[in-house]
C-alpha cells in the first residue's frame, strides 16, 4: 500500500479535519467529549495514551471507532498474567520455503499495526509490559537481534482497570512516562446513558465513516502531526512549561540539584515522591500546540499549557503513601501546581 501525496495542511484544515474525526467517533461514543479530544490530541502530538476507566465505559468501542474513522489498521491485545512478550511483539517460526528448505521467519505480533489497544495492561507481568516500551518509544521491535520497524502513524492506547487490583502489576514509572496523556473515562451521566441505550439497542446501529481514504490516511495523519510541530512557541511559554514541570518535583527530592525560582506547593512536598521528568515538559508543549491549532492559532500560549497540564503531568507524579491515605490523586496536585506557577507569572 503506497501513500498518496497530499496537499500540505493549513492551520484551518487541521482544525476542520480534527473536528470531523471527532464527529465520526461521537457517532458511536456518547459523551466523553473531553476524553475523545484528548485521545485525538495525543495522536496528533505523536504520543500514546493511557486510559483509566471502569469496565463498560466504551474503551474498546472508542478504539474501534478511532481506527475506523482514521481508516487505519488496529489491533487489540487483552493483557493477562500469562501473556508473554513474544505474544505481542511476534516470534520467529520455522517455515518451509519453496525450495523445501526450512528457515526461520519472523511472524509479526499484534503490535504491528497503526492503532493498538493494550487492554488492561496492568494485568500482564512487567516483562511483557516492558515489551511494549521499545515499540512505543522507538517505533520498532527487536526480535532475535533483528529490528523490525513499525509503520507510522503508530498509536498505542493502553487501558487500566482501577478496580479488581488483585493480581495486577502496576506499570513501572519508566513505562508510565512513555504515555503522553492519561485520560480518565468515567461512567456516563443519566442523559448520556439514555442516548447510549437508544443508539445501541435499536434496529439501526450507528456506523463510523472513514474520514480519509485508505491510501491517504497515514500520510494525512502524518501531515497533521508535522503541522503540530510547526506551531510557534515563544521562549517565554517554554519557560513556563519548564517551570510547571519543576514545580511538580518535591523540594526534598535528591534528584533536584537547584531549587532556585521553583514554585513548590506544600502539598507537592508532602505527597509526591518523584515529580515529572522532562518528558512531561515535552508533553505539555506538544499538547499545547495541538490545542493552539484547534483554536486556529499558529502559536501556543500559557493558557494552552495550563489546559494540558492535568493530562500531561498527573500520571508522571509518583505519589507517596500519605497521598493514598489522604485520598489525594495526581490531578488534584497538578491543579495546585498550576495555581502556584501562575502566581509566579510576570
Amino acid at each position: 500500500m503506497s501513500a498518496t501525496p497530499v496537499e500540505p495542511l493549513t492551520v484551518g484544515d487541521f482544525a476542520r479535519t480534527f473536528r470531523r474525526i471527532q464527529g465520526e467517533i461521537h457517532k458511536v461514543i456518547v459523551g466523553h467529549e473531553g476524553a475523545v479530544e484528548s485521545l485525538l490530541s495525543a495522536l496528533m502530538a505523536g504520543g500514546h495514551v493511557l486510559i483509566e476507566g471502569v469496565p463498560g465505559t466504551g474503551k474498546t468501542t472508542l478504539v474501534k471507532a478511532l481506527g475506523t474513522a482514521l481508516h487505519l489498521s488496529f489491533n487489540r491485545i487483552q493483557f493477562t498474567v500469562d501473556l508473554m512478550p513474544a505474544d505481542i511483539t511476534g516470534t520467529r517460526i520455522i517455515v518451509t520455503g519453496d525450495d523445501g528448505r526450512r528457515e526461520f521467519s519472523f511472524l509479526p505480533g499484534p503490535v504491528f499495526c497503526h492503532i493498538l489497544l493494550a487492554d488492561e495492561i496492568n494485568r500482564a507481568t512487567p516483562k511483557t509490559q516492558s515489551a511494549l516500551l521499545e515499540a512505543m518509544a522507538e517505533m520498532q521491535v527487536t526480535v532475535a537481534g533483528t529490528s523490525h520497524v513499525l509503520r507510522p502513524p503508530y498509536f498505542v492506547m493502553a487501558t487500566l482497570n482501577p478496580i479488581e487490583m488483585e493480581g495486577t502489576y502496576p506499570l513501572p514509572e519508566a513505562q508510565l512516562d512513555r504515555f503522553i496523556f492519561k485520560v480518565k473515562l468515567d461512567y456516563p451521566d443519566e442523559a448520556e446513558m439514555v442516548r447510549i441505550i437508544s443508539s445501541t439497542t435499536g434496529a439501526v446501529e450507528s456506523m463510523v465513516d472513514p474520514v480519509f481514504g485508505a491510501n491517504e490516511a497515514a500520510e494525512r495523519i502524518e501531515g497533521m502531526k508535522r503541522l503540530v510541530r510547526e506551531v510557534v512557541v515563544a521562549p517565554d511559554v517554554e519557560r513556563y512549561a519548564a517551570r510547571m514541570v519543576r514545580a511538580t518535583q518535591p523540594a526534598n527530592s535528591r534528584f533536584v540539584s537547584e531549587r532556585r525560582d521553583v514554585a513548590v506547593d506544600e502539598a507537592v512536598n508532602r505527597y509526591v515522591s518523584f515529580g515529572s521528568s522532562p518528558r512531561g515538559a515535552q508533553a505539555l508543549i506538544l499538547g499545547a500546540k495541538v490545542r493552539a491549532l484547534l483554536d486556529a492559532r499558529a502559536n501556543a500560549g500559557r493558557e494552552d499549557i495550563e489546559a494540558v497540564a492535568p493530562l500531561a503531568l498527573s500520571h508522571r507524579m509518583m505519589l507517596n503513601y500519605a497521598a493514598h491515605s489522604d485520598g489525594i490523586d495526581g490531578s488534584q496536585l497538578v491543579e495546585r501546581v498550576v495555581k502556584s506557577v501562575r502566581g509566579l507569572r510576570g
Partner: protein, 456 residues
C-alpha cells in the same frame, strides 16, 4: 523570486503594524508609571508639609513634633513604595506584549510575535501568525489595553493639594501662637528667692539682661551652678523630653513665623539676703565666697534700707542713692567672658509662680513696702519718696552674664513655655501690670501732700 520578496515585504509591514501598537501600549504604561512616581512623590512631600504646618498651628509643641514626625515618616514610606511600584510597572516590549495578550485575550499571539520579531529565522507559520494577529488588531488597540492617560495617583496629588490649601488657610486664620494677654514687660524686678532656675532652658541668645548687685549676682551664679548640676543628674527620659520640647518649640516658631519676644531686663534683688532664707541657694553651699556671705549677712531680713548700707550697691536702691551706685552690676546675654558659672549656664531663670512671688507682686502694687514702685521688695521710707527720674538700668559699672532670662517655664505638662505664669493672668480694671512704675519727677507743690499720705 520577486513574489517571495513581496511576501516578505508585506510580512514586515504587518509586523511593523503589530509592533507599533505594542510599542504604543508600552509607552502608555511607562508614562503612567512615571506619572505615578512623580505624583505620589509630590503628594507625599506636600501632604507631609501641610500636616506639619497645620499641626504647628493647632497642636501643642510636643503633639506637633510627634505629628510632624509621623507625617514625615509616612510620606517617606509612601514615596518609597510608590517609586518601587512605578519601577516595577515600567515595561519593555515583551512585557507590553504580554500585558496586551492578557487584557485582549490574545492567547499569547503578541508575546510570540514580539519574541520572534528580531530573530532572523522566522517560523514556518510566521505569516499566518502575523495575519492572525492583525485580524485582532482592534482587540489590542492601545486605547483598549490601557485606557488611562492619567495615573490614578493624581487623586493623591489632589488630596495633598487640598491639604496644603487647608494649611495655607490656617496660616491666615489662626495666629501663630495662642493669644497672649499682653506682651511681657520689658523690665521685671524680681527677688532672687522668687527665681526658679529651669535646667531645661535653651540658653538661647534672646538678648535678655539680668542686673543686680554684686552679692545678688554671686548668689545667682551659685544658683545657676546648682541648677546645672541638678540638670546633669536628671534622668535621661526627662532630658529627652526637655530636648524634644525645645526642638518642638523652635520648629513650631520657625514654621508659624512667630515673633520672638523682645529682650527683657530682669532686675534681681536679694530681698531675703540672709543665708537662713529657705530659697537662698547659697545658704548651705560649701566653698562660697566669704565676702559674699558677710555681705549677705549684713542685710537685714526685712529688707535693708539704702541708707543703712550705702555701699551695698543693691539694684533696688532708692532714687536718691541710685545714681550713687557705681557697683550696680548688670548681666547681659552674650557676655561670655564674664566670670562665674552664670556666663555659660544656658539655663532659664524664671520668676517662681510660688506664693512668695505673688506676695511680692501684691506688695509692689499696694506700695506697702516700697518707695513708689521703682524697686520692689526692698523697703523704703518717706524720705526716699522723691528723687530723680529713672534712667535706663544699665550702668557703666555693671557686668553682664549670659543666661536665659526669658520669663518662661516649661511645665511638666508640656505646656506653652513661652509665657510666664504671672503674665498669663488677666488683670481686672482695678489692677495694674506687675511692673514697677517708672519714677518720675514730682512737682515740689505736690510733695507735701504725697508725704502726708504716705505717712498715714
Amino acid at each position: 523570486m520577486s513574489e517571495v520578496a513581496g511576501n516578505q515585504g508585506r510580512n514586515e509591514e504587518k509586523l511593523g503594524v503589530v509592533l507599533g501598537q505594542i510599542d504604543t501600549i508600552r509607552a502608555r504604561i511607562n508614562r503612567l508609571a512615571l506619572q505615578q512616581a512623580v505624583f505620589v512623590t509630590i503628594a507625599g512631600v506636600v501632604g507631609a508639609a501641610a500636616i506639619a504646618v497645620a499641626s504647628a498651628y493647632l497642636l501643642t509643641p510636643l503633639a506637633f513634633l510627634i505629628t510632624a514626625a509621623i507625617a514625615g515618616l509616612t510620606a517617606l514610606i509612601v514615596i518609597v513604595v510608590a517609586l518601587r511600584s512605578a519601577w516595577r510597572m515600567r515595561t519593555n516590549r515583551a512585557r507590553a506584549a504580554s500585558i496586551a495578550d492578557e487584557r485582549a485575550h490574545m492567547d499569547g499571539r503578541l508575546t510570540t510575535i514580539a519574541a520572534f520579531a528580531t530573530t532572523p529565522n522566522r517560523p514556518k507559520l510566521w505569516p499566518y501568525l502575523l495575519e492572525d494577529a492583525l485580524m485582532h488588531r482592534e482587540d489590542f488597540a492601545p486605547a483598549r489595553i490601557e485606557k488611562r492617560r492619567l495615573s490614578r495617583s493624581i487623586f493623591a496629588l489632589m488630596s495633598a493639594a487640598a491639604l496644603a490649601l487647608f494649611a495655607v488657610g490656617l496660616t491666615r486664620v489662626v495666629p501663630p501662637h495662642p493669644p497672649t494677654i499682653a506682651a511681657p514687660p520689658k523690665t521685671v524686678t524680681l527677688d532672687l528667692r522668687d527665681l526658679t532656675i529651669d535646667p531645661s532652658g535653651t540658653g538661647g541668645s534672646d538678648g535678655s539682661q539680668v542686673t543686680g548687685d554684686q552679692n545678688t549676682m554671686r548668689k545667682l551664679g551659685a544658683m545657676l551652678a546648682r541648677a546645672r548640676a541638678a540638670a546633669q543628674g536628671k534622668d535621661p527620659i526627662s532630658q529627652m523630653k526637655d530636648a524634644a520640647n525645645r526642638l518642638a518649640n523652635r520648629l513650631r516658631d520657625k514654621i508659624t513665623g512667630a515673633p520672638k519676644p523682645p529682650p527683657e531686663h530682669l532686675k534681681l534683688a536679694d530681698k531675703g539676703g540672709d543665708s537662713n532664707s529657705a530659697k537662698d541657694p547659697d545658704s548651705d553651699q560649701p566653698g562660697q565666697d566669704p565676702s559674699a556671705k558677710n555681705q549677705s549677712g549684713d542685710d537685714s531680713p526685712d529688707g535693708s534700707k539704702p541708707g543703712d548700707s550705702p555701699d551695698s550697691n543693691h539694684s533696688t536702691q532708692m532714687p536718691g542713692s541710685s545714681s550713687d551706685a557705681p557697683a550696680n552690676q548688670q548681666a547681659s546675654a552674650g557676655a561670655a567672658a564674664q566670670p562665674g558659672p552664670a556666663d555659660q549656664s544656658g539655663k532659664d531663670i524664671t520668676p517662681s509662680p510660688g506664693p512668695d512671688s505673688q506676695e511680692s507682686a501684691n506688695e509692689d502694687r499696694n506700695g506697702d513696702n516700697d518707695s513708689g514702685g521703682a524697686s520692689h521688695g526692698t523697703g523704703s521710707d518717706a524720705s526716699g519718696l522723691f528723687g530723680k527720674a529713672d534712667k535706663p538700668a544699665t550702668g557703666d559699672g555693671s557686668f553682664q552674664i549670659a543666661i536665659e532670662a526669658h520669663p518662661a517655664s516649661i511645665g511638666d505638662d508640656g505646656g506653652d513655655g513661652d509665657r510666664a505664669p504671672k503674665v498669663d493672668a488677666a488683670l481686672n480694671p482695678d489692677q495694674y501690670a506687675d511692673e514697677p512704675l517708672s519714677r518720675t519727677a514730682v512737682p515740689p507743690a505736690d510733695r507735701d501732700a504725697i508725704e502726708r499720705i504716705f505717712d498715714q
